[in-house]
Symmetry: C2
DNA sequence: CTGTTAGCGCTTTCAT
DNA sequence: ATGAAAGCGCTAACAG
């Protein structure tokens, strides 16, 4: 609306209280010592003026700001959204504030890089990077500049700390689940590492494990969400295939939709597995068989690791792989 | 890791390039004019040093920072997550950066207030507040301090600008839908305004419209997600009720789960409606009958309104109520 | 085209 | 216990 007045500064407060700005600063930060009378006058003056510290100015001179930055690929994705919430809670509990920047939901590395710089420029004390897209080469330079933790993806680059859910384990256990149910011919929807640093390893693990267990694998390749329907067509051309593994719950649900469109259902016609076990899609209403990632713990450990670096405690575990848990739902069943 | 070296400043860059810091500043901001040779030397020096501007220092002296702040209640909720992503995209398109702070997923007003202050102290140029919880009284003081827009909830307080989806319309159209299908006895799961500034008006609108159309309403009251199962018990005690309206898709899915547990299904035993039509739950696999909120447009309009305030164009529409659209799914049907 | 000079609002020695 | 003064890193006049 109309012109807002200039925010009051400590000088305004000082004048009103009839002291020097140094005194005001001491009262506000509680660092030096001031007379009880004076202190009260300053407090009153500040209140009357509606004074609010300028964190920007304070950050310029003070060494600590107790502000952490989180970069999240796309907040609209349940996985990242939950991660953000978990980190926020943990940071607050440790006395830090968390600000975040996100990509625009597109798959542009440049966008992500820009968002990261925004955070750096804001002079946060440390950074948590959550993106299955941004390659290590883009992240490492920042890690040299300030404390940084990569969360939610298996990052094993030497110069960064990371916290993630063991993708090998998840992929393998889901594969085991299907083989144990008697499936011998399984299709797998895969992605490349350029597409996703999380979905590539997990789907690769699925394929490897299936083969180890003696099952034959139909590699469906290109695993964008839009490709799911075409993939189903391919699967149906191979009647020996009795199960399909997908890289995420979103993919699994898309597949179930496509099947529904063609009058097919799971697990009657085809067993289907997802991955994530997070958010709305985890509802028993759908009953997806999936691998549940411990998002809350990933977020908490990431913040803990970051704060540890900040407070100069040497990070104990450079790379932490957390365990998820298999959730056997109603979309998989013993081979008919 | 080991001790990180002090971040390079423009003075370091200036020395390395053999010029004064003013020249460096000009090159970096592109404001003055500098010789092609010199410019290149500065750029090289900056790159070699891995220089990154200190936005904090810049913000202290520059009038504009082109940084907007968004407060989002809980990023783990699809509605807020999508809103954040939409705002981020729009802000970037307009040449602004967006940083966000979120609550911890709890229902604590104090938490939210704290997050808001974080943003303010970071000296963002303007604020978008997205919370169905934070009362206007908490928001208005900030609106006096800086440009502010409330997004995603019907806020009609005089001193703030707002963009939201017309809750009256959504509630009414869903009610109409049921009445048109022949339902005469409808149960409604309601919330109070203290619980949610969005769910209260929409459920109230449902009740009002149902009554206007001559249907009888079973008011289920207390609409927390945990209350859904108990509510179902109450509904079943009233065999004349043929449909249940809920305040959100989450609620609707919870209800469908409870029904499933008791061997009931929609729409056979009971027609069910949700609200939001956003995110994973909007899948045709579930086929929920719901009101689709135009999140993307809400986010875009909110950013537009904020930027308009910033660039001193008088905000044309103080309060913008956007229209949603009914999505008739398979959870509602003509009364058997 | 380039260097010099003031600060932005705050914290922090250093005197007093 | 209080005040004066020196910057934090940067931009924006102002002179050359």
């Amino acid at each position: 609306m109309n012109e807002r007045e200039r925010n009051p500064t400590i000088i305004d407060v000082a004048e009103r209280a009839g002291v020097s700005k140094s005194v005001v600063s001491r009262v506000l930060t509680g660092h030096g010592s001031v007379g009880g009378q004076t202190k009260q006058r300053v407090l009153d003056a500040a209140a009357e003026l509606g004074y609010v510290v300028n964190a920007v100015a304070r950050a310029m001179v003070a060494r600590r700001t107790y502000t952490l930055g989180a970069f999240v690929r796309d907040a609209a994705t349940p996985f990242y959204g939950s991660l953000l919430t978990a980190m926020q809670g943990r940071a607050a509990a440790l006395g830090y504030r968390l600000v975040s920047a996100t990509g625009s939901g597109t798959f542009a590395v440049a966008d992500e890089h820009r968002a990261l710089e925004t955070l750096v420029q804001l002079r946060v004390e440390g950074l948590v990077v959550c993106s299955g897209l941004l390659p290590a080469s883009e992240v490492v330079p920042f890690a040299h500049r300030m404390p940084l933790v990569v969360a939610g993806r298996p990052e094993t680059h030497d110069s960064v700390t990371s916290v993630f859910c063991d993708e090998e384990e998840g992929g393998a256990r889901l594969a085991d689940h299907l083989v144990d149910l008697g499936h011998r011919h399984v299709a797998v929807l895969r992605l490349t590492a350029e597409q996703s640093l999380t979905m590539e390893p997990r789907t690769t693990a699925m394929v490897r494990r299936l083969r180890e267990r003696g099952a034959s694998v139909l590699d469906l390749g290109g695993g964008w969400l839009e490709d799911v329907d075409a993939a189903l067509t391919r699967v149906l051309a191979h009647p020996e295939v009795t199960a399909v593994m997908t890289p995420s719950d979103r993919h699994a649900v898309n597949l179930l939709e496509s099947m529904q469109d063609r009058g097919l259902s799971a697990p009657g016609d085809l067993s289907v597995t997802g991955y994530d076990g997070i958010g709305p899609l985890a509802t028993p209403l759908i009953g997806l068989t999936t691998w549940v990632q411990p998002v809350a713990r990933i977020g908490e450990h990431a913040i803990d690791a970051l704060v540890a670096q900040l407070e100069s405690a040497p990070a104990p575990d450079h790379h932490q792989a957390l365990s998820g848990v298999l959730s056997a739902g109603r979309t998989t069943a013993r081979r008919g």
